[in-house]
């Protein structure tokens, strides 16, 4: 079956937020039909969102810097979560609420990722979860988060580290 294609590049360049369109398209998919997205950057947070709906993904970066991502229904085998940094206490991030903030910190110079994460963390509601993708394991961030009573879960992903940070509450 032909995949359903959604070209989001124009909208993204205008600064639009295409998530509602994506979710609408997902609802319209026929069984076994895959979704093909054309974007101007790799939409990492989307992997988690559609992953929970059972979609696996393949991402290809084209020569012009644009991305093509194909979401295949029923192919998401949940990635093994291996903690690369021990958290303050044993945390099972599987039971945490869906992250409400996503930060893509790749391409930022240290300590900018740490500044952004702590800034976003301080604006989180009690018990809310923040998700971030960093190029490097932010070793100086952990003591700060620990001092602020956060629970942290990290896992290595391609091209960096994925962090789930939950505010106490």
């Amino acid at each position: 079956m032909e995949p359903l294609t959604l070209d989001l590049r124009e909208e993204l360049r205008r600064g639009g937020e295409p998530l509602p369109r994506i979710l609408q398209a997902v609802d319209q998919l026929a069984p076994e039909q895959s979704l093909r997205l054309l974007t101007t950057f790799e939409p990492l947070p989307l992997y988690a969102v559609l992953g929970r709906k059972g979609f696996g993904h393949d991402a290809v970066r084209h020569g012009d810097g644009d991305w093509e991502i194909r979401f295949q229904p029923g192919t998401n085998t949940a990635p093994a979560r291996t903690a690369v940094t021990p958290a303050t206490r044993p945390t099972s991030a599987d039971e945490w609420p869906t992250p409400s903030v996503f930060l893509d910190n790749r391409g930022l110079q240290p300590p900018e990722p740490m500044v952004r994460i702590l800034d976003a963390f301080e604006h989180l509601g009690a018990g809310a979860v923040l998700e971030a993708v960093n190029e490097r394991d932010p070793v100086f961030l952990y003591p700060e988060l620990q001092a602020r009573g956060a629970a942290i879960h990290t896992e290595k992903v391609q091209g960096g580290v994925r962090l789930l940070i939950r505010r106490a509450g």
Binding site: G15, E17, L19, P20, L23, F41, P43, P45, L46, V49, V84, T85, P86, A87, T88, P97, T98, S100, V101, F102, L103, D104, G107, L108, Q109, P110, P111, M114, V115, L118, D119, A120, F121, E122, H123, L124, G125, G127, A128, R136, D137, V139, F140, Y142, P143, E144, Q146, A147, I152
Partner: protein, 464 residues
């Protein structure tokens, strides 16, 4: 358990190292010694030990205490051990200096300070090796910078062992008559220390630091592994065969020594090529001052490599060795040290001062802690001084050498003042109120599947 990854005593290592460096520069400026001076003279011995133990060793150990936890994401074995190491090395160094002065000044009763000071330095190094060795050995998977530092440490052990053998032979020559010729191995001692230990370690640390602040790929691939393996093999062959040749100067030993020398040259050339690649592959268009100035240090390493190759081809390596050693200590290792300190000091100061306030109110940026306008002239003056002094050492012209050391000393003091200002956030305090942080982002609706922030770089976007 997540522990604080800041190395508490690293700033003290840096401060002590700079004081020792300036002290050595003052001795050279006063004409106490210069690179063509007799190695055994007290002034020369004091200056050399101030430079390699007081300046370079304390600088590198202080940096490793901070960067090994960053490289391995594992804590040091102990923070207190770092302080013990500093006290032992600096105290031991002062003892050695007093010992050299005592022996030279006809006060033989002070001679005991030499082995005692050397012993204290050795204990300090042993503490440091344990302290960084534990996280390095435990790190999985090991990284190229980590492996290069481990190799460097092996050469540090070899260097210290050779130094202790020298001390033993000198203090009791009759006890070990068959070992006495080892005193001819001063060149191998220097090669193991300046090359195997300091250079391989500096290369390893630079492989972490350069990509981090220029946003270049950290994975160095086959080229990086080649630098490590060829370099380690080269220094090992050159040092071991060089020592063996003292007793058995037969053709095969000399040939192995030459293979080692060629491998060292190849590793340095590969490294410089790879550094060029890091600069070219960077994603940050503007290069920060510390890495712009570091290009000078890499250039000095390149000049050292080229002159060593030319001199070796002309069989005159021995003649340029003192000038070469000066260029490597001041141009390459010292140059890399003073330029990277210009980033490390404000970075650490910023973490210590503002880490706890992040996200809770306005804080200065790391770059607000330094003033490039004030530091840039010092880097230029330092480089000019190193160039003048190296040429003067090559021409065996002591007066011109001192003329070159003067700007080096002035620039080192000028930069030390800039580090001091960064550490005390003088510039950031002076420019208050600090640049306000962007307005607080609205708290996102919690646990709504549809709330998605696709956030790239500096373009945060919230969906309605």
């Amino acid at each position: 358990m997540i522990t604080n990854r800041l190395s508490r005593w690293t700033p003290h290592f840096f401060a002590s190292a700079l004081v020792n460096f300036i002290g050595a520069e003052m001795l050279m400026l006063a004409g106490v010694t210069w690179p063509a001076h007799a190695l055994g003279a007290a002034g020369t011995l004091i200056t050399i030990h101030l430079l390699v133990i007081g300046w370079l060793l304390l600088l590198v150990l202080g940096a490793l205490f901070q960067f090994v936890p960053v490289m391995t994401t594992l804590p040091l074995a102990s923070q207190t051990a770092a302080l013990a190491c500093l006290v032992a090395v600096e105290g031991g160094l002062l003892g050695m200096i007093a010992g050299f002065l005592g022996v030279a000044g006809g006060t033989p009763r002070l001679a005991w300070l030499l082995p005692a000071g050397g012993g204290a330095v050795t204990i300090g190094i042993a503490i440091a090796l344990w302290n960084v060795g534990v996280p390095l050995a435990r790190a999985r998977p090991s990284s190229l910078p980590g492996r290069m530092v481990m190799t460097g440490i092996a050469f540090l052990v070899a260097t210290v062992t050779l130094g202790l053998l020298f001390a033993a032979v000198l203090s009791a020559p009759a006890a070990m008559p068959r070992l006495t010729p080892i005193l001819a191995g001063v060149g191998e001692h220097a090669l193991s220390g300046l090359g195997g230990w300091f250079t391989l370690t500096a290369m390893g640390v630079s492989y972490k630091l350069l990509p981090m602040f220029m946003l270049a790929p950290e994975e160095r691939g086959a080229l990086g592994r080649g630098v490590h393996l060829v370099g380690a093999m080269g220094f090992a062959l050159a040092v071991v065969a060089g020592l063996a040749a003292i007793w058995r100067p037969i053709a095969i030993v000399i040939d192995i020594q030459r293979i080692g020398d060629v491998a060292i040259g190849l590793a340095v050339a590969l490294y410089l090529w790879d550094v060029r690649r890091i600069y070219r592959e960077r994603r940050r268009t503007a290069i920060e001052l510390h890495n712009r100035a570091a290009i000078g240090a890499f250039a000095f390493l390149g000049v050292a490599l080229a002159s060593a190759a030319i001199a070796a081809a002309a069989h005159r390596l021995g003649a340029i060795a003192p000038a070469l050693a000066f260029l490597i200590v001041f141009g390459w290792l010292g140059g890399l040290g003073i330029t990277q300190l210009y980033k490390i000091v404000p970075f650490l100061a910023w973490l210590v001062r503002y880490g706890g306030r992040l996200g809770r109110g306005p804080v200065p940026r790391v770059q607000d802690l330094v003033r490039d306008r004030a530091a840039l002239p010092w880097f230029i003056v330092y480089g000019a001084g190193v160039s003048i002094a190296t040429v003067a050492a090559l021409m065996r012209w002591p007066t011109a050498f001192r003329i070159g050391v003067a700007p080096i000393a002035v620039a080192t003091i000028g930069l030390a003042v800039e580090y001091w200002r960064a550490w005390h956030a003088t510039y950031a305090d002076a420019s208050r109120p600090v640049k306000p942080v962007p307005p607080a982002m609205p708290a996102p609706p919690a646990s709504r599947e549809t709330s998605l922030l696709i956030n790239r770089g500096d373009r945060p976007r919230w969906n309605p």
